[in-house]
């Protein structure tokens, strides 16, 4: 960078304040503090400046200035992400899209919603409800997380086996390039000519552009939804039941599993009536027309019994359905009550490997002397081990991180991947080289350069640079360690 292209913090703020209200250009340490991390608070960094523009034109101007001076830009939604994907860059600008909260249009006939990126996930379904419609992907953070962040992470949720991830439910986006140029990807139609750039942007963690508008598909609210809860004496039986349901031709709307630590914590917290003596618990939701739900519920109940369930309970009312889900949805905070801190992992595995993976994980748990509770999107193989630790004990977080890394290596070794829905961010960047070869990582890097040649959009996240990759390789053994 030439001297002419350098700018100090005060000059930069002055430039921003020419077109953004002064109170929305934040540069003092105290006000910057809340932006130092996202939902993964172990990773912190104070940004140079935070801006909260209110119009797309202002966002464009921010990008143009940052491009001119080669200043890193980290776009931020609600900051609920769990991979430090929105952690600031010390030399960079945090571009908050919190002011973009408007639902621009809901069209009941086309079954679509046009949204600004800061619209909360749950707010979409709330607004669409009067038309009998809702938005499919429902990450656990849906009360707070925003659609812009959902696009960045390609968020899933409890219902994604049947209704898909964000990438399956977005029709088009309006995006600004790193140079501040506005482009539209996708259309009102279901596909477009040329490369499917929309598929690239979903899950790109803010590395390719800044999303300023999203058009999503809405689905008709099912006539009926019921949930069957089943307790099992062992994980293998619960896993077999999951396969049994899929083999019977039913695609459940949600299919969740919890292990004994998670059941116990969730029950103490939510009082949902979970069998605390069970080693594994399944929640299977079936939705559709009233007739279909009746037919499938009977099948699921029979299957659970035939696979040796020790208890089976089916929701009779909406209130009971909500209660049965409450325990699952509160599982993370519930686990937070039985441990000072917990660290949530996000590996994905082929379902058939579940019993093996849980057994291996128990061995690691013994080795590291750290408890682990498991919550599992059983329908789509997405595992959320919660490692319980105490950050106040010196060295315990480092041990936790290492344990987590080993879990992800195990997921890859059995044919899965390092992240199903939380993203790579900074947190899992080290594990990227377990899943990908250097050639593959280099291919990702060149894709990044196609959009962002100077590498100023969310630098250091998502895709490791090869230099870093070499460093990681030299310190991390590639072999999966098992603890006999």
């Amino acid at each position: 960078m030439s001297a002419a292209n350098k700018i100090n913090k005060d000059e930069l703020c002055k430039l921003f304040r020419c077109f953004i209200a002064p109170q929305y250009v934040i540069s003092d340490a105290e006000t910057l503090k809340p932006y130092e991390c996202d939902g993964l608070s172990m990773y912190c960094e104070m940004p140079l400046v935070v801006v909260l523009p209110e119009t797309v034109t202002q966002v464009q101007e921010v990008l143009r200035i940052c491009h001119r001076y080669t200043i890193p830009v980290v776009a931020r939604g609600a900051g609920t992400g769990l991979c430090a994907g929105a952690m600031p860059n010390a030399q960079g600008v945090v571009l908050s899209l919190a002011k973009f909260k408007n639902i621009i249009e809901i069209n009941p006939l086309t079954r679509t919603a046009r949204l600004q990126p800061g619209v909360r996930n749950l707010a979409i379904s709330e607004a669409a409800a009067e038309y009998g419609l809702y938005y499919g992907p429902d990450p656990s953070s849906q009360i707070a997380c925003t659609i812009g962040g959902n696009v960045a992470e390609n968020s899933g949720g409890v219902h994604c086996l049947k209704y898909g991830l964000t990438v399956h439910n977005v029709l088009s986006i309006e995006m600004l390039t790193v140079e501040g140029e506005k482009i539209t990807l996708g259309s009102d139609g279901l596909d477009s000519c040329g490369f499917d750039l929309l598929a690239l942007i979903n899950g790109s963690e803010g590395l390719l552009g800044v999303v300023t508008e999203v058009q999503v598909k809405l689905l008709p609210i099912p006539e009926k939804a019921r949930v069957v809860m089943a307790g099992f004496d062992n994980v293998q039986q619960a896993g077999d039941s999951v396969s049994g349901i899929i083999a019977s031709g039913i695609i459940p709307a949600g299919l969740e599993m919890m292990d004994s630590h998670a059941i116990s914590a969730a029950e103490d917290f939510a009082k949902a009536g979970y069998p605390k003596d069970a080693k594994a618990l399944l929640l299977c939701e079936v939705d559709g027309t009233s007739e279909e739900v009746q037919e499938h519920i009977e099948k699921v109940e029979k299957l659970f019994h035939s696979f040796g369930a020790t208890s089976v309970r089916t929701s009779q009312t909406e209130a009971e359905r909500a209660l049965l889900w409450k325990g699952r949805k509160c599982a993370f905070p519930a686990v937070g009550r039985i441990s000072p801190d917990y660290y949530c992992m996000d590996g994905t595995i082929p379902r058939g490997q579940l019993a093996h993976v849980l057994t291996e994980m128990q061995k690691m748990s013994d080795h590291y002397q750290l408890r682990v509770a498991n919550v599992f999107h059983a329908g789509d193989g997405n595992l959320h081990p919660l490692i319980l630790f105490d950050a106040n004990i010196p060295g315990e977080f480092e041990r936790t991180e290492e344990f987590g890394g080993k879990i992800l290596e195990l997921c890859v070794a059995v044919g899965g991947c390092i992240t199903g829905e939380h993203g790579v961010g900074i947190e899992k960047i080290r594990q990227m080289f377990i899943q990908f070869t250097e050639q593959e990582l280099l291919q990702f890097t060149t894709i990044k350069e196609a959009f962002d040649p100077l590498g100023t959009l969310n630098p250091g996240k998502g895709i490791p640079t090869l230099r870093r990759c070499q460093e990681y390789r030299s310190i991390e053994p590639k072999k999966v360690t098992t603890h006999d």
């Binding site: 086309t110 477009s192 007739e291 279909e292 994905t348 593959e440 894709i447």
Partner: protein, 367 residues
């Protein structure tokens, strides 16, 4: 069942050394699509075989040259299917070509497209590197989604050698309802039906008749037929009553012919235009002569037409047009892309294929 990936990789490396363009071909059933190109053949028709299929995992992995017929036969043994109903323009159609051309059938708006079902790919890039992206699990957000990027890229980013797909159970029951109505009314009506929580799995209008397919649990399909059949809709009977398929025609055959483009509508020498548009758009000058599929989101028009005019009609309808088959295949056949998107696409092309050896000009003249 043969693994030719090493040979294919070698052929790519040789072509790169010689700066020689390659024309990637599987079964050749979709060679009419895209622009006319030259280049020596890189034949994937021998690179076949289902590599992995676990019905309870809902995942299948097959080599790119595996015929769709072989894949569907294996799935049918387990009462499963490719829910995106890929069209077969001939029985030679392969899974690699289906992904490269992003081909999906009548169920697409409800079940998703091939792009939506792809979980992972292996591909040889322009450097001759055999790379693996995505995987065999339903959710994977590590790295960019290179697998879905292949959908519709028409082989211009690399040689797809292996595809992993999500597969789904076949519906227990299927029935079709038909109504007589004009195109304008049908477009609105299919969108209204799609907004109901009923098991609609296809909706198509052709020559004064609307066809709506219902698929799912038997009880759900039967109850919906009962509710919708004979029901007077909206404008107090303006749409007439729905009648059950079996009274009228062989519905299974109709959907098969629609899916594989074997209906008489497709069997003409005139250029075939495909419009991918807002499902509710009314295109007054085309609709009544079109075949309207995907609940209104995909329109087929057969006839000589000016591409610029077709583009402006499609843009007005919220979408895009392509010259799908026939007509002038030396000029552009895809909807024109704005300059900034051309630049990004060229850079992406360069990132995969720096020497421009894969299917040059097939997608756009400038690529």
């Amino acid at each position: 069942m043969t693994d030719l990936s090493k040979e294919l990789q070698q052929q790519v490396l040789t072509a790169r050394d010689e700066k020689r363009a390659l024309s990637i071909i599987g079964g050749g059933s979709k060679s009419f699509m895209g622009r006319e190109t030259s280049g020596s053949r890189l034949d994937l028709s021998g690179h076949t075989g289902i590599v992995n299929y676990h019905p309870v995992e809902l995942v299948m992995t097959a080599r790119a040259g595996t015929p769709i017929t072989e894949i569907e036969a294996a799935l049918a043994e387990n009462n499963q299917m490719l829910a995106f109903e890929p069209p077969r323009f001939s029985d030679a159609a392969t899974i690699g070509g289906t992904l490269a051309c992003n081909q999906s059938g009548p169920s697409r708006p409800w079940s998703g497209s091939v792009r939506d079902h792809v979980l992972g790919v292996r591909l040889i890039n322009g450097l001759g590197e055999h790379l693996k992206f995505g995987g065999q699990v339903m959710k994977n957000v590590a790295g960019y989604d290179v697998s879905r990027l292949q959908a519709g890229a028409m082989g211009s980013l690399g040689v797809i050698t292996e595809v992993s797909l999500k597969v789904l159970p076949k519906p227990a029951a299927t029935k079709t309802l038909v109504w007589d109505m004009d195109a304008q009314a049908a477009i609105t009506f299919m969108n209204q039906l799609s907004a109901r929580p009923k098991p609609v799995s296809a909706a198509c209008w052709l020559e004064g008749r609307l066809y709506v397919r219902l698929s799912g649990a038997l009880s759900a399909v039967e109850a919906t037929v009962q509710e919708w059949q004979g029901k007077e809709w909206q404008g107090k009977g303006a749409f007439g009553s729905g009648s059950l398929d079996s009274d009228v025609f062989d519905s299974e055959k109709f959907w098969e012919q629609l899916r594989h483009q074997k209906l008489d509508f497709f069997n003409q020498a005139l250029p075939l235009w495909r419009l991918s548009v807002n499902s509710t758009a009314q295109i007054a000058s085309l609709d009544s002569e079109s075949l309207i599929d995907w609940g209104g989101a995909q329109r087929w028009y057969r006839g000589e037409a000016d591409k610029t005019r077709m583009e402006s009609l499609a843009t007005e309808a919220g979408g895009q047009v392509s010259l799908f088959a026939g007509g002038d295949r030396c000029s552009e056949v895809m909807h024109n892309a704005p300059v900034v998107l051309q630049t990004i696409q060229k850079r992406i092309k360069d990132s995969f294929d720096p020497d421009g050896i894969f299917n040059p000009g097939r997608l756009y003249s400038w690529m």
